[in-house]
């Protein structure tokens, strides 16, 4: 009986192998049919779940760039084909998605949207000959384990420094308070860099308040402390969701001349407080991208994006858009999609994107000009214009 069973099982295995073998030759000609094989480009990010807004923005920005490049003839005559995988922001799923993309035949990788997932994928891709260019993974240390990893956005410590410089340059305040999330690397990293730069510039930090994932629903005590600090500028390097709760509870308690200053994590805040957009009044957001900028390339991008998605692109969409163009520039310089060659090319190219003009250092970081958007009654405009 046992023998019979094992025979049957063996027969089934042989058949399934044969089935696999039969599949392959059938699919290859389909790809090579026509002119040239497509150049496969893969992205990973949260498309569902709590942080879906960030992933969807990046994906739409990427799609827009792919569409434009394909219409203009592709990269070196090859048309681009995009696959964007949903990770829900979870590093484990992101690594699985990365493997799936490699099996699919990905030649160019956009890494992941979030820092946490980018860190694991960057480490996992160490021995693969592929370049990873994350549009928005901003945490400082995530690119260290792999010298073929780069990013389009600011890194956290640079953002913290730029935020302090911005306050100084625009003479916004010489005394500030801070509210940050003490169990998120992003928030802690920004705060520490901000604090370091403030000490250097002589900006006093009058009050520091924190919260955690478990206590992000009730900001009563923090608001009381921040009110008592009596400052005109509160630095909030936190994500849009807790920020919406904080600002809702703070509404009407702070004076009209008190500003809340945050970084890229605040992007999408208006959708979070859609029931009453005046909640986001006096919110300043540090960004390399402003949709109402007068630059011609930005205007063209915003117009095309609005036509395609019926919404105004945020900086995540802009980061995604620039990432694809940066990959294009690097591949044209390198002459192949080999990771090592592309990594070398990355340090040599200069890309004038919608988030500013970018040059990269070998550690994967880029430095570009920062602006701030200020929100008033549901619209964001460039601060100081």
């Amino acid at each position: 009986m046992k023998k019979l069973l094992s025979l049957v099982l063996a027969a089934m295995m042989v058949m399934s192998l044969a089935a696999c073998g039969g599949d392959k030759p059938a699919s290859t000609p389909a790809g090579t049919e026509g002119t040239k094989e497509t150049l496969k480009i893969g992205g990973i990010g949260p498309l569902t779940g709590d942080y879906a807004n960030y992933g969807i923005s990046v994906k739409q920005g990427v799609e827009q760039a792919v569409k434009e490049i394909n219409a203009a003839g592709g990269i070196a005559g090859q048309q681009l084909e995009l696959s964007f995988q949903d990770s829900q922001g979870d590093p484990e799923s992101a690594v699985n998605a990365y493997g799936k993309l490699l099996d699919w035949g990905m030649k160019l990788s956009l890494g992941c949207v979030f820092s946490g997932e980018t860190a694991t994928v960057v480490a996992a891709a160490k021995d693969d000959d592929i370049l990873l260019l994350t549009p928005s993974g901003s945490s400082d240390k995530i690119l260290e384990s792999n010298d073929k990893a780069f990013r389009v956005c600011f890194n956290d410590s640079y953002q913290g420094v730029v935020a302090a410089d911005f306050i100084k340059d625009h003479k916004l305040a010489d005394k500030v308070a801070v509210l940050y999330q003490s169990d998120y690397d992003y928030s802690v990293g920004l705060y520490e860099a901000f604090k370091g730069e403030c000490d250097k510039l002589g900006i006093a930090i009058a009050e520091v308040q924190t919260f955690t994932e478990g206590t992000k629903t009730d900001f009563t005590t923090q608001i009381n402390k921040l009110l008592a600090a009596d400052v005109k500028m509160i630095f909030i390097p936190i994500y849009a969701e807790p920020a919406s709760t904080f600002l809702t509870q703070a509404k009407g308690k702070f004076g009209d001349d008190v500003y809340f200053f945050g970084a890229d994590g605040l992007d999408g805040i208006l959708e979070k407080v859609a029931q009453d957009v005046s909640i986001a009044n006096n919110v300043l957001m540090l960004t390399p991208f402003a949709a109402d900028s007068t630059e011609a390339n930005v205007q063209a991008f915003v117009k095309a994006y609005q036509e395609a998605y019926k919404s105004t692109p945020d900086q995540f969409a802009a980061d995604g858009y620039d990432a694809v163009y940066a990959l294009k520039a690097a591949m044209e310089k390198a002459g192949s999609s080999s990771g090592a060659a592309m990594a070398k090319a990355m340090t040599e190219i200069e890309v004038a994107g919608v988030t500013g003009t970018m040059k990269w250092t070998a550690d994967g970081n880029t430095q570009k000009k920062a602006m701030a958007i200020i929100y008033k009654d549901g619209t964001g405009s460039l601060f100081g214009q």
């Binding site: 924190t210 005590t221 402390k225 809702t248 407080v273």
Partner: protein, 292 residues
Amino acid sequence: MIEFIKTLISGLGLGSIYALIALGYTMVYGIAKMLNFAHGDVIMVGAYAGIVAFTSAGLPPVFTVFLSVLACTLLGITIEHFAYKPLRGASSLSVLITAIGMSYLLQNLALMIFGSQQKAYPQYIKLGQVSIGPVTVDGITLLTLGVTACIMVGMSFFINRTKLGKAMRAVAEDRGAAELMGISVDRTIALTFAIGSALAAVASMCYGLTYVYIKPTTGAMPGIKAFTAAVFGGIGSLPGAMLGGIALGVIEQMAKTYISPLWADAIVFAVLVLVLVVRPTGLLGKEIQEKV
């Protein structure tokens, strides 16, 4: 001093919400001898019912509250009837696991229907800020305190002075004897769930008006805190649940203000452990003598 009073008042507000939820836990435990871990999620359902009634259906505030209470009451009775009643004779462990399963079922249903993005609870009662001398507090906090105080008075009247209340106490005391006296145990337990869930709906209103944003997991943390409050005050005891809830809220806000938000939860639970070491049955719990 002003900071202390402000913290105290916000602690009382938060504690009132905990107390309202804890009442549901403690009543169900006292009468059905089970931990209804799905109770926290009933608040979440109540809050979503409020959002649907006011924002989507455009009902006036009074009907919104009424509909929310009705939805929770029906939900409570339904859960009891289909999930817990068939397990009445089963071991308490099976009932506990069923309750945990019910909690996840409700959360995932809400996730399917409303999605994972937060939704804003309609602010149909706008009270702004109230200044009492140098202290400014949210009007909503005072409303929560008032509502909770009324409910507490009403509940103690109901339990101590009415026939149904007497029946509930009798079932809590000795289920078999109560049945022999002609009290319908099933109906009393269903009534307990109905009242507990209605109180959860009131808590959801206070929660929504104070903290605004609702998600499918909104009920989880307040549920656990309220359960802690019920144990803290002595599970099975109504005044204990109220005291426990208020104490927990005040300790939490004090810890956040004077120590650190990072430590707030740890301190709350450390206090719970200390109280249970000194008084194993909680602050107002009855000493149970095991008869051998």
